[in-house]
């Protein structure tokens, strides 16, 4: 069965490019663009991996991740965070919230695919 990734991102063309890439790699891809309802979307979808934008409308990626980690079923869910904020303190904040991998924009497709493969052994 295909591995399932939920892409939580509000940039339409990033969604399109990454969906194409991940589908080409054999992933089942769902997308979600609203930060405020992201946690419930993740709970409903129960993906194998979440690719999460740092800055989202409605709720930040950090807040979403913090809520997610408080749910026992999602405490260990692999999360790859994408961000335009590359400061050390942003990275540390994400690590404190429980991120598995932190990647700054503009990233390369190879970096993303390698990270995804690392986080979910496929």
């Amino acid at each position: 069965m295909d591995k399932h990734v939920l892409l939580v991102e509000d940039e339409v063309n990033i969604i399109e490019a990454m969906s194409f890439l991940l589908k080409r790699e054999g992933w089942k891809v769902d997308t979600h663009s609203d930060g405020a309802t992201a946690v419930s979307a993740i709970r409903d979808a129960r993906p194998d991996l979440v690719v999460l934008d740092y800055m989202l409308p409605g709720k930040s990626g950090i807040a979403i991740l913090t809520e997610l980690r408080a749910l026992p079923d999602f405490a260990a869910l692999p999360v790859l965070m994408l961000t335009a904020r590359g400061q050390l303190r942003d990275r540390e904040e994400a690590e404190r919230a429980g991120v598995n991998r932190f990647m700054t924009k503009p990233f390369s497709n190879t970096e993303v695919l390698n990270a995804v493969r690392d986080l979910v052994r496929v």
Partner: protein
């Protein structure tokens, strides 16, 4: 190979511009139209006399057919491929890609150049980013758009089997994002320009610095005792924020107190006797060495810089002097004598330094750290370090050149430095 490959496209382009049919040109240079067709479609190598003949008939220099923008295009495409980590085999196919799809190759190379340009902009502005939330939001917009372009362009470059529908869709996305990127970048520049025109200041400390710079660090009324600090502040509408007014009041109060303790005239007279000897001057006037350093910097018609730091390393006062770069944002070079004396309050350090950068300049520095604030029981002693910076215009070549120091790590070229906190942007293309 690449030159040959692209020369065909260029011949075709020039022939069309000249209004010649393929058969006409072929006849004039004495080859068959079918052979010329192969050349124009980059399927036959060309050079020597045949190339000269074609150039002659088309009325162009031979180099116009063999050189030009292609080399830069290929270089850009190679860079783009390298940046996305492509293997050697695909990098070698870049010439074929540029030859067969010159238009899309230009789009991809242009997008890559734009990404590189934006990355440099990001590095340059990263210091400021932490100080300005509006700027941070704008940069997020720019970087996200750049990410979309980079990702999409990479798919187009990597996947030769992509369906026409997806190709069209991704090309449209790149076009859309390129426009958006241009708009975002333009808005960002407009914002930065406007910000500079209005105040240019991201913090109250910057407001004060700008105010002091505008006054030339000279306050004759305070020096002569004919003007109060309140009066000076009342005539300074550029100090917009309450915080800036508070900081400026402290600085002006210090200038006023220093002037009362050591007048300009008395200091000028003493200097003729002692020379540039801050310790002797402090003893003569019965004041602290830090006060003498401030007064020496405040002397009119002199080129002298002064920086004051608190114990945490933040600059609380800066009077620039030409050639000595004092960072506006971020931490200063930890090798400055200013920070060495923080460890030993009361010790006066005199040292010659050479500040490294695009232009190396030599300075004699005097530095001292002294307690500030009222004495308190069981409370940390607050300390300010003060450093006077005197340019050395004609260094004595027989003397040691001065200890090398930087401005801030970000723009310092000294790679092998134990004090380095972060890589220099000078090493990545600036």
């Amino acid at each position: 190979m690449i030159r040959d490959t692209l020369t065909g496209s260029r011949i075709r382009e020039r022939r069309v511009i000249a209004g010649l049919k393929q058969a006409d040109l072929a006849r004039q240079i004495g080859i068959s139209a079918s052979y010329l067709n192969l050349i124009e479609h980059n399927r036959r190598r060309i050079g020597g006399k045949l190339l000269l003949n074609i150039a002659h008939v088309l009325g162009v220099e031979p180099s116009a057919l063999t050189e030009g923008a292609e080399a830069a295009l290929i270089a850009s495409l190679r860079e783009a491929a390298n940046d996305v980590g492509k293997g050697v085999a695909e990098v070698e196919r870049v010439e074929e890609f540029a030859g067969r799809f010159p238009g899309w190759a230009e789009v991809l190379a242009g997008a890559h150049r734009r990404v590189l340009s934006l990355e440099r902009t990001v590095e340059t502005l990263s210091d400021r980013l932490t100080h300005d939330p509006q700027l941070a939001t704008s940069m997020h917009e720019v970087l996200s758009t750049a990410a979309a372009i980079r990702s999409t362009a990479s798919i187009l470059a990597d996947d030769t089997n992509i369906s026409p529908d997806w190709q069209a869709r991704f090309h449209a996305n790149i076009d859309q994002d390129s426009r958006r990127l241009a708009d975002s970048a333009k808005a960002l520049v407009t914002y930065l320009d406007a910000n500079t025109e209005e105040t240019g200041n991201a913090s109250p400390q910057e407001e004060v610095d700008a105010f002091l710079d505008a006054q030339g660090h000279g306050f004759d009324g305070l020096e002569a005792g004919t003007q109060t600090v309140d009066a000076v502040l009342a005539g300074a509408p550029q100090l917009a924020s309450v915080a800036a007014q508070h900081l400026a009041r402290q600085v002006l109060g210090q200038i006023e107190a220093d002037a009362r303790a050591v007048s300009r005239d008395a200091l000028a007279e003493a200097l003729t006797e002692t020379g540039m000897d801050p310790v002797a001057l402090a003893q003569r006037f019965g004041v602290s060495v830090a006060r003498i350093l401030r007064r020496l910097a405040a002397q009119p018609d002199t080129q002298r810089g002064l920086v004051v730091s608190d114990r945490a390393g933040s600059l609380v006062f800066r009077r620039p002097v030409e050639g000595f770069s004092i960072p506006r944002f971020g931490a200063c070079c930890p090798l400055w004598p200013l920070f060495q004396v923080l460890m030993h309050p009361g010790q006066v350090l005199r040292e010659r330094v050479q500040q490294q950068g695009r232009r190396v300049a030599t300075f004699d520095c005097f530095a001292v750290a002294e307690p500030v604030g009222p004495a308190q029981y069981n409370a940390p002693q607050l300390v300010h370090a003060t450093m006077l910076i005197l340019p050395v215009t004609a260094p004595d070549q027989s003397q040691p050149p001065g200890r090398p120091v930087g401005s801030t790590c970000r723009v310092c070229p000294r790679e092998a430095c134990a004090g380095r906190r972060e890589p220099s942007i000078l090493s990545v293309g600036f």
